[in-house]
Amino acid sequence: MMNPQMEMENLVLGTALELVDGESCFVGIGVPSLAAMLAKQTHAPNLVLIYESGAIDANPPIPPLSTGSPSVTADTAMIGDCLDVFGDLQAGRIDVGLLSAAQVDRHGNLNSTVIGDYRKPKLRMVGSGGAHDIASLAKRVVIAMPHDPRRFVAAVDFITSPGFLAGGGERGRCTPRGGPHAVITGRGRFMFAGEELQLERSFYPFSPAQAVEGFGWNLPIHPGAFCFNGFDESARSLARRTGFNAGA
């Protein structure tokens, strides 16, 4: 029996490892925030966390519910406004954007708007928020998703936040910058080969086959894919101790 607690920890740990010390990182709420906080407390103490509410170089003591929460401002270097942080983002000064969504597809497009048809949706969700802007304008985008076959689909119902669109260079013809770099789940790390999602490694105890189990298309596994068992145990216990697994 697989351990859901371990899967959640893997998701946060794997996402945190995508962040490089000294980078500026535009952070969303939920797993992105947990991962950025963990990275800052472990291998990337100089990571600059930026929240869309205007907090710059934040260091939240507890996971915030809102980007405008007291936790976001509790130990931050600057409270600007939305124009300050989105301005920096558009100007190409943010290294990495961390996003999650309801759906992701084979080309890294994200949906947080509707399930079903836009005019007659099965489920109306929250919309873009800053996600479209981050996906369009960050130099590189990392996507954190729980391993859930309902969330991994061949084509999202609605492209809220552009990945590689339909592939074949379409993104580059529409918007020149950035694009999705990696997708992290609790079971593995996926990268893009020819603008198409491909499993690069699985996370212990999951095999590569288990990392793509149940997805809505035949997701390719890189020939060199392996099972990674190298997460830092002290980072894992920090994640566990500080409740990083809660609520996400």
Binding site: I29, G30, E52, S53, G54, A55, P64, L65, S66, T67, G68, S69, P70, V72, T73, I79, D81, C82, L83, F86, L89, Q90, N109, T113, Y118, P121, L123, R124, M125, V126, G127, S128, G129, G130, A131, H132, D133, A135, S136, L137, F158, I159, T160, S161, P162, L165, R171, C174, T175, R177
Partner: protein
């Protein structure tokens, strides 16, 4: 001339049925008291706009006040979707115009600057511009690049909550501003509820905290606790548990109607609202003792005591 008014007079005078309203507060200083007054007075056919909304939008939709929403994000932050919005979309009873947080911010900024549009590098791809946001492709006359033209949006009235103001209407807000200042200054007039009224001298000793100057403000209302369940930096903290509870309540229309009766429709004003909350809440968020009390002007500066 004093702009001090009661909240019910202010809403009656400045927010007619059918108005396009900017609602302030990016997680911080959300004007719940002003929103609840709209519900009590039974406003209809309103258009609400802001970038990242809070559950106040859900409540106004549930109460039947809203014909249209213009937003970047509409939900219960960090908790889930807006159930009342979902039901309204299912019923086809609400007009939806959605942007992204950045591009809606640019709409307000354009209005603030008095220009018909601003260029942006967002909304060049994906379904948001195809399905809803009326951004137009333009070619930069200097570089030849493709850009989005983001049209200005000028609300008729902005409802904002802040820490304090003087009776002239100089409004001071510190902590998270988000898009509050942009939305307020993009609007034709500004209505502010505040935790406390202070003297002109206090304002003029700290002018860097003023986000809306008196000549843009038409009314100021003293409403301590006016941002609960959101928070006011230096005054009280965010009631996260209320947002989680609200998610459960708002899934069910009958439970939500009972909530709105108990906390909004059947309370006379903000003090009664705060007294309608469960025991212990005001202590937990640091609001106990402030209700109905006047904070002396020589009290410690909240910036230093946060």
């Amino acid at each position: 001339m004093s702009k001090l008014l009661t909240l019910d007079d202010t809403i009656r005078r400045y927010v007619p049925d059918g108005a396009l309203i900017f609602i302030g507060g990016f997680g911080h200083c959300v004007p719940f008291a002003a929103g609840h007054e709209l519900i009590r007075q039974g406003r209809k056919r309103l258009t609400l706009c802001r970038t990242g909304t809070d559950i106040l939008f859900d409540q106004l939709i549930a109460a039947g006040c809203v014909a249209k929403v213009i937003f970047g994000y509409l939900g219960n932050p960090g908790v889930g979707i807006s159930h009342s919005f979902r039901r309204a979309v299912d019923a086809g009873s609400i007009e939806v115009e959605e942007w992204t947080n950045f591009t809606l911010l640019l709409r307000l900024h354009a209005a603030r600057l008095g220009v018909p549009f601003l260029p942006s590098r967002a909304l060049l791809a994906g379904d948001v511009p195809k399905a809803s946001a009326d951004a137009r492709k333009i070619t930069c006359p200097f570089t030849g690049e493709s850009l989005s033209a983001i049209p200005a949006l000028s609300p008729e009235v902005a409802l904002i909550h802040a820490q304090r103001a003087d009776e002239d209407g100089n409004v001071q807000l510190w902590g998270i501003d988000g898009d509050t200042r942009e939305g307020a200054l993009a609007s034709r007039v500004v209505v502010a509820t505040v935790e406390e009224i202070v003297s002109r001298e206090v304002i003029r000793a700290t002018p860097e905290r003023t986000i809306v100057p008196a000549h843009r403000t038409v009314a100021v209302c003293k409403v301590p606790g006016g941002a609960h369940p959101s928070y006011v930096q230096g005054y009280y903290t965010r009631d996260d548990e209320h947002f989680i509870l609200y998610d459960r309540i708002s899934r069910n229309v009958n439970e939500l109607a009972a909530y709105l009766d108990r906390h909004v429709r059947h309370v006379a004003g903000r003090e009664a609202y705060l007294n309608s909350l469960d025991p212990g809440v005001l202590e937990r968020i640091g609001l106990a003792g402030r209700v109905g009390a006047t904070v002396p002007q020589d009290a410690p500066n909240p910036l230093e005591t946060r």
